[in-house]
Symmetry: C2
Subunit: 417 residues, 2 copies
């Protein structure tokens, strides 16, 4: 596709300018981006109104409309997010390791940008500003391919950011938005080898699957989270209730919310009724396996689970509930159904905790804490562009460090091999 080819070539050119830029120049551009969002807030909100009007006409659900909606406070939040990224440590030019070899060669490994990052994402327009800031700070040119439903908002935000970047002397093309929101433009990005260095899909399971299936450029898979809490025999029951309530109900639509709990058989008869009582006020529908349903048979929120409940990412106030014989049963269930995002055990037994940490294969494995902490900021690393659920390159929060590569610099005095 010609438009994507041209966008990609401009991004590569901008990427060279970014590679040659200093941290101070990039921070200056970030400051200009933040101020421009404030200054042009009115225009951005007006563009967002157009998207919201179309969304209402097209029958978009209220919760999706809420994700699409910008307000003055949300624009200020985007501005603040950019300033926070600006304040982070420069991830480029770090000497990751160095050595002097016996033959006198000095070998350094130094962090460099990935190059051109393409992001395919869905409804929320704030992603446009967040992703642009993270990519610019880490010296990467970015190609943003948002959804049709947010195109007016995204265009207003991207134009604002581009002018701000250009006003500081870096190329406007450090930030580009794909105007064409057709499937074809997404497909062309996925096959733009040599122009797109990394593609990050951010959205639902369907989008991720399509990208993984079709892309020939390097991809980082993000976000699908069927997360679990396992309540062990040796759990503090009150702690288990707190963690499950928090991980399920504090923000059910996000990827680090839980979908299923596993409860040790010896405590299920005491724990599950207390849990049902705790979750009744939200209320949370409980999709129960046979053993759990036998315990909760009189609970109005308890219904039988079907096989596909164990693989479901509900994103709403539904929780699958399974009774397992012991930690082996919990680990076996996770091997079958974990999406390797975030998994937690609640236990007072140190051996069980150690085993869970060692054997569970996920980006983040928790003992006695909510899975909701899987987040760059909560881990102490700053903002993130997504949560990687693959093992290649980076796992968990994709922050500034994960948006870099490295190169080897070797200095000699004529050494030959």
């Amino acid at each position: 596709m010609k438009a994507i080819q041209e966008l990609g070539e401009r991004a590569q050119t901008a990427s060279r300018a970014l590679r040659a830029s200093t941290g101070a120049q990039r921070n200056e551009a970030l400051a200009a981006m933040a101020e421009a969002l404030s200054a042009r807030s009115g225009g951005i909100l007006a563009a967002n109104e157009q998207d919201l009007k179309a969304a209402a006409e097209n029958g978009m659900t209220v919760s999706l409309q809420d994700r699409l909606r910008l307000t003055g406070a949300r624009v200020q939040g985007m501005r603040q997010g950019i300033l926070e990224v600006m304040e982070e440590k420069d991830p480029l030019g770090l000497v990751l390791d160095q050595s002097a070899r016996p033959n006198g060669l000095r070998v350094e490994r130094v962090s460099v940008p990935l190059g051109v990052i393409a992001l395919i994402y869905e409804a929320r327009p704030n992603v446009t500003a967040d992703a642009a800031a993270l990519c610019l700070k880490s010296g990467n040119a970015v190609i943003l391919r948002g959804g049709k439903e947010a195109i007016h908002s995204n265009t207003a935000i991207a134009d604002t950011l581009r002018q701000a970047v250009a006003s500081t002397g870096l190329p406007a093309d450090c930030v580009q938005l794909v105007a064409d929101t057709s499937r074809e433009s997404a497909a062309a990005l996925m096959r733009a080898n040599g122009l797109v260095d990394v593609l990050i899909p951010r959205g639902g399971a369907g989008l991720i699957r399509t990208v993984v299936e079709q892309a020939s450029v390097p991809v980082i898979e993000t976000g699908v989270g069927v997360c679990h809490v396992y309540v062990d025999k040796a759990a503090d029951a009150e702690m288990g209730l707190n963690i499950i309530e928090n991980a399920k109900t504090s923000r059910p639509s996000v990827c680090n919310a839980i979908e299923t709990i596993l409860v040790h058989g010896d405590i299920a008869a005491a724990f599950l009724p207390a849990l049902a009582a705790r979750l009744a006020k939200h209320p949370v529908e409980l999709r129960c396996d046979e053993a759990a349903l036998a315990i909760l048979k009189n609970d109005p929120n308890a219904v039988p689970a079907a096989e596909d409940d164990w693989a479901a990412e509900y994103g709403e106030l539904i929780l699958a509930v399974k009774v397992v014989a012991d930690i082996d049963g919990a680990l076996a269930h996770l091997r079958a159904y974990s999406t390797r995002h975030s998994e937690a055990i609640v236990t007072g037994d140190e051996d069980a905790a150690a085993r869970f940490l060692r054997e569970v294969d996920a980006a983040a494995v928790y003992v006695n804490a909510s899975t909701r902490f899987t987040d760059g900021g909560e881990f102490g690393y700053g903002a993130e562009i997504g949560i990687s659920t693959q093992r290649l390159h980076a796992r968990g929060p994709l922050g500034l460090r994960e948006l870099t590569s490295y190169k080897y610099l070797i200095r000699g005095e004529g050494q030959i091999r």
Copy 2:
């Protein structure tokens, strides 16, 4: 393809056993692998004879037959290589960073295996043993898909290694060879999502391109090296001659050998005749641009270059030669033709050196040294499974560290968000 599906499932099962294994257990398996190669050397050499017989009948070139050939010494070399991998530091379970958060959570980032690594490779059977050792040491199950021409050798080696691994209590399926060497088996590996965690193609540009185009599993691109030496105006001419001779002639078939030299216009008239004299003894054919040919017009090894010479990975005693106006000309040529493997400048000018190191985008950038040093061992990192020419995950030598991922371990006392 059913055979690949079954292989992949067995590899995933073996991978879980490896994840739960200790460094001592993995070293025990490596020791057994090394000893078994020695003990069964006769059978391996007999199998290799079968491959060599078929190769001669099929008219394989002598240089390819040489790559295919095993000898007693080469089997001992494989054994020694495994022992060296065994001696390296365990790359698993390393705490890469850790912090205590204000809310009391303790967050650790710990190295873990990638999982199941598939390797598609061509002629040399020693890769079978080298790759198996690196994968096992780093806790990864490996699926080896070698070429048809080496199938008897590879089968004998893989069977030997599998029995050795099993004799120490780890699953034989830590090492698996794909018996079917058809295109279909390679294609099935490329699409084995959920079974193959990383695919590494090792071979010529055609193989790499096919894998990048067709794979839906994560890929690490390796090896295509159109490497350059730029001889700057301020170069020590003798050093330049030494480096070029070494980088071109010491082992022309490998990926870190050079294919093109760029010479500053101000010194070309003096430097090129000296270079032609130095290379005449090999001899090296010189494919010259117009300016270089004007200088070397009476040299018997000098011929005109065509456009496709600038992108050629010769792998033999041919060198493309171009005169550039200055370092800008050299950098522009590299932007167009570098495959981002290894690039060198020869100069006494510190500013030129600094600029070359900063602006050249390649896995390894050299000042005053031969590109032939791009190698895990030469950099001080031990053996490698290939040289990555992409920016995602790892760049340059793929050693034990690059064959790992990580996970976050978070310990709390009931924290919620």
